[in-house]
Symmetry: C2
Subunit: 366 residues, 2 copies
Amino acid sequence: MVFKFEILKKDPKSRARAGKLYTSHGVINTPAFMPVGTQGTVKSVTPLQLKELGAEIMLSNTYHLFLRPGHELIKKFGGIHKFISWDKPMLTDSGGFQIFSLGGLRKLTDEGATFTSHIDGKKHLLTPERIMEIELAIGADIIMALDECAPYPCEKKQARVAVERTTKWARRCKDSFNKLQPDAKRVGSSTLFGIVQGSVYPDLRKRSAEELVEIGFDGYGIGGLSVGEPRSVIGEMLDAQVPILPEGAPKHLMGVGYPEDILEAVKHGIDLFDCVIPTRIARHGTFLSKQGRQAVKNARFTQQTSPLEPGCDCYACKNFSAGYIRHLLMASEILAITLLSIHNLRFMMTLMAQIRSAILEESREF
Amino acid sequence: MVFKFEILKKDPKSRARAGKLYTSHGVINTPAFMPVGTQGTVKSVTPLQLKELGAEIMLSNTYHLFLRPGHELIKKFGGIHKFISWDKPMLTDSGGFQIFSLGGLRKLTDEGATFTSHIDGKKHLLTPERIMEIELAIGADIIMALDECAPYPCEKKQARVAVERTTKWARRCKDSFNKLQPDAKRVGSSTLFGIVQGSVYPDLRKRSAEELVEIGFDGYGIGGLSVGEPRSVIGEMLDAQVPILPEGAPKHLMGVGYPEDILEAVKHGIDLFDCVIPTRIARHGTFLSKQGRQAVKNARFTQQTSPLEPGCDCYACKNFSAGYIRHLLMASEILAITLLSIHNLRFMMTLMAQIRSAILEESREF
């Protein structure tokens, strides 16, 4: 199966839509949340547990995989799916956001990004062409063009430079992608998404979207949001960009995240989300629930014989009490982290399933 | 089902035997290896993974569970099986070995052991009576009497004092056990094993065994071995003790361990083993194989697309390459530890299954 996006239903009162994203490694029901496996594993869970909790796609970070174990090694092992034993869809980001996060350790020019590895201090230059080579060697189903993510706050002038560079890099990525993978309609081939930027400036957001659409991609990442700006800004920026992007193209709001942000973004027409929050907060002993985030260390869980969230159908809630998981955490047992990660990811899967049902059945207002 | 031990086959050339140990929570095929779940979890694996890799019984440490989360809390949750979500047989040790390991932090008198908690520095006195109360509250299928484990090396005089105290404590444990659990034949009740000691002195080993047999237990732990003495001593001590213990009683060589020691001990009539080695070395990146222990960090695994041990049927070997597991370890991913733990435990399960087959089918010499 080659890449295809099908919109099954549109919400009459918002831009929300439910659809199906077809890839060589299976179908993703959208809107979807993608668990993040930075280094080729979603932290603390096995691929089997990830599948069992309902994940249909996983995101991995090109920057991290490039540095360790290296894209050539992954290619030698038959690509990322075989390397990590995940036979469902995969998406790799472009590394743009990670390079941006390096702060003083990186330098951006029109040519590309020069940075110092956080692992061994080696210098690297990543150009758009090189990123395409790396991502295609890794071999995810969806790969992203290299972008420049502006910081927050950011002067308009700097934000404009980032938009202009992002457009130039996107064009070079597409050219390089077409050369490296001329048989893009082959089963097992990768699909390229462009990334739009523009910081918190609606006119720059519009311009970035227009320029990327002119180049033309099969899907679009919306980058540079959730980097410190007030929450309310996200909706405004999506309003500026989403109507410009082709309706039939899947849209990925990169790095978002929180259940409340996801609900809002779905209404603005977003189909894909990714965020490290569910597994990161698990490692800090926190779990997601309908009552918000809760710390398992809280003494009130000591004697709780019921699960973390009664009614939840995850492996952790079906088999263990909150009291036991608290004990594991107090005793620094890894199992605590695994169980909390499973619960938090399942919480996100359930949330997305409810959102999809609401759209498909028009059962709830968006 | 109440406690029963059935010997299915005896090896004609040694004391080795294959049998079945029946408990309220299921049957254990012996000789068996018991994964250790010190704090109520076998480190880094879920109970489901533990079951899938073939574990039929798990050992937990009374000392640790008493200190955290406390036996009363476990009782409140319905006992250890419910608390940790493990519906198969459980064994708890008596805490004697852990208290012994505290060194200067503990003081032993005939009354019991006074020690300082390694968690919060609180002082505790554990008497044989108190240990029975604690173990019965935890509620494992097999519980052990309190013993005094002599260090190695140990003067004969000191070893004799430890044997004498172990006998006195064993008697008090049995009396207390009978009082606390008068309906010992009830389904779900616990079975009490005595522990024999004697350091490296054959005559003390004999004396200890004779005295414990006189008190009478449903099974026997053999303690105080594998604490630093030369390996060759183990066989000699088993030769002194095993013939004195009732043939029909299951015998547990406590804290042993290494595949080669297990093979030797089975020939001396041992039925049960436990050791933290498989999961501990996993946390250090080491795996068990027919070629001995190997460090996954070794550069030769970098490009290995085949599993850790080709032919192994564990989840790690069936799904992942050694190269990927090495990557996970280099990247400090918890999944590396989980996969190595699963492999190492499965290695022990396979070893024990081969030992049982060899005895049952007389297919190999012991």
